[in-house]
Amino acid sequence: MSTAGSAPSNALEARPARRRRGVVRWRGLIPIVVVLLAIVVGWLTMGEALLRNTIEEGATKFLGTEVDIASLHVRLRDATVELQGVSIADPFDRMRNLVEAQRVTAVLEGRPLLEKKIIVRTLTLAGVNTGTARRTAAAPAPRDGFAASTLRSLDTWAARLRKPIASFTPIDTIRAVVLDPTKLASVQRALEAGARADSLRDALAAGYRALALQTVHDSARAVTTRLSGANPRTLGIDGTRKAVADVRRTLAQVDSAKRRVEALARDARTTTVVLGAELQALDSARREDYAFARSLMKIPTIEGPDLGGALFGDVSIDRFQKIMYWAQMAQKYVPPGLLPREQPGPKRLRMAGSTIAFPKAREYPDFLLRRGDVDLGIGGKSAASGKYVASVTNVTTMPALVREPMRFTLSRRSTAGVVAAIDAAGVLDHVGGRIRDSLGVDASGVTLPSFPLPGLPMRATLGEGTSRIDLLRVGDRVAARWTIHAPGVTWRRTDSIATGGVKNTMQSLALRVIEGVNDLEIVADLTGEIAKPSLAVRSNLDRLLAERMRAVAGEEIAKAEAKARAQVDRIVEEKTAPLRAKADSLRAQGEQLVADARARLDEEKKKLDERLKALLPTGGLIKLPGEE
């Protein structure tokens, strides 16, 4: 039997005494050297491929769209990274590349690399192309990533901005609809308000009961009855003192009850105000009901702003949606301020945790491209032909450290005989606590979009023209304008099953008016809070269309609208009359209760004051012995 720590057996005791050695096992250096050699060999054989994959993965995550790199070369001696065959897919069109570059060369600064920071001294691009077709569809952004969630939220954002499709129904077939009262917003609001009025009435009644006025009345009446005809001579000094104390105590109870009555009066007034607001809300709900009835009756759209939004709203929203996507990405990856920033940690088998960055003033940011210039010409007569000049400065993930806004400019001049020029300039100012971004893009002689006109069997081909986008974002507010001028717009009728072809005379009129326009100007304005902006679209076409339609069918449309309004008014009046009556009755009931309570308490107080006067000689100016 052996004890812990002692030699366990004879066999162990028989072993020769171990030689005492130092704390370091030098033979351990051999595997370390082997591992280091393996790392060097691994880097030489696979390092660049691994780095290329890492950059592809990081850039794809960063931009939210597939980034491909054909090959990568690193020159450690001069800290230069050269990428070849770089393409960035369009997040809105997976079969197109936003930009392609045959060669991208980045010269990095050495010391910041020791701090895990990438400072690009110069960036050179060669063989740049934009808007090229992809052979294979780009992979969609990861569903749980920021880019995908931004795209989803922007879809919702765009859906809110969409305008109703223009209606070109013939006047003679305007529907005589029977409105379902439960579908009307004002009726629904009236029912809710009615329930609220009931609960307010119950609350008022409970408040009145809580005043316990009967107890105060009984107490006051008992005191006045008991002391009726009493005077100091019959009661004696002690009796008088006691009677005075009783009267004063009862008076205090009456005063307290009066204060409670005044509180109830305030509640009653609040109730009246609440119900008044409910009734006012019914009026605005009624305007929604007019629009609803109008849509059910298929009354043709003849107002210019409505027509502009209906015809060109979608194409404008599409443009703004793309701009807002990049603005949101810029906000996410170029946040203002110097506070520690928490981000999800790297994906691994273990829990990812959070990785926190600790930016420090007057130090390098995690990433900085001090200046990048592109100056190249693409020959031939392709769409991309032209001379490009672009520059970016201070592209960083931590603008508060760089203390300079990020700026970029781009200009393109075509050399292919077609007049095509693009001038763009932008500033992303995230230096202070408040974001201030601005962008201006002016394109002339460019091919403008082609799109179907919602609600009409027609497609607009804007052809070549000018387009200008201006955007200003300050904090969470945005003001943007997209202007296009298409001097050679062409219209093509479509007879697809979806549109159903030309249906009636109103539609035929609209098509004729549209076809008569060959110089189109559209102005779309997006203003307000980024989360819920308002969109206004106007054009020379919708003004013309509205005039013509008003001339042809204005009177009939006005009659139909009056009919719709009358029908809504009848239903709403019928359904809201009980609420109005209830509100009036509640107001009157509250006032009556308060007035009655005040009158009764005043009367009791008067009687008690008279008793007090009778008990106190000289009206209380002389105090009784023992009275405080």
Partner: protein, 172 residues
């Protein structure tokens, strides 16, 4: 398979006679870091180098790595909380800011909540793991050690040629 066999051999030998209980326990305490903390980090390269270079039980380190991996996964939420509390502490913010803007320190990934929390957790557990391992090895040698030494399996394992490789890293 060869690696597994070597690990088994080293484990068996460590438990019996190679190295003092303190050497075995120190190896186990170091190896626990490999299991408790996310493996692909710079500090684990240092730990691995220490296991090779220091005169401690390498086999015990490998055994502890295997034993502590599931524990590490299970404790990740706790490590995240610890790391987050430390990294978001206002009092420590100047120190972190200074550290993570110094050369090479950012490569430690100690600004990740799980990495920092697990390293702190391992440092806190280092002494308890050391003393517990030491106590267990002494108890084992005093009770079951000799019976296992006489078993056929033990002899078969230690007779393998691969065992020779292991002998390079056994404590001296």
């Amino acid at each position: 398979m060869l690696a597994f066999l070597k690990l088994l051999q080293s484990l068996v030998k460590e438990l019996h006679s190679d190295g003092t209980p303190a050497q075995v326990a120190f190896g186990a305490a170091l190896g626990a870091a490999l299991g408790l903390t996310p493996i692909a980090n710079v500090h684990n390269v240092v730990i691995f180098a220490l296991l090779l270079l220091l005169n401690v039980s390498f086999g015990a380190g490998m055994l502890a790595w295997a034993v502590f991996v599931p524990l590490g996964f299970a404790l990740d939420p706790l490590f995240h909380q610890i790391g987050r509390a430390l990294l978001t502490s206002r009092a420590l913010a100047p120190m972190w800011t200074s550290w993570f803007n110094a050369p090479l320190v950012p490569y430690t990934n100690f600004n990740n909540t799980v990495v920092l929390g697990s390293v702190v957790g391992w440092l806190v557990l280092f002494a308890p793991i050391f003393f517990l391992a030491k106590w267990l090895i002494v108890r084992y040698r005093a009770t079951y050690g000799e019976r296992v030494r006489q078993s056929k399996l033990y002899r078969a394992v230690t007779a393998s040629q691969a065992y020779n490789v292991y002998r390079w890293f056994r404590p001296e």
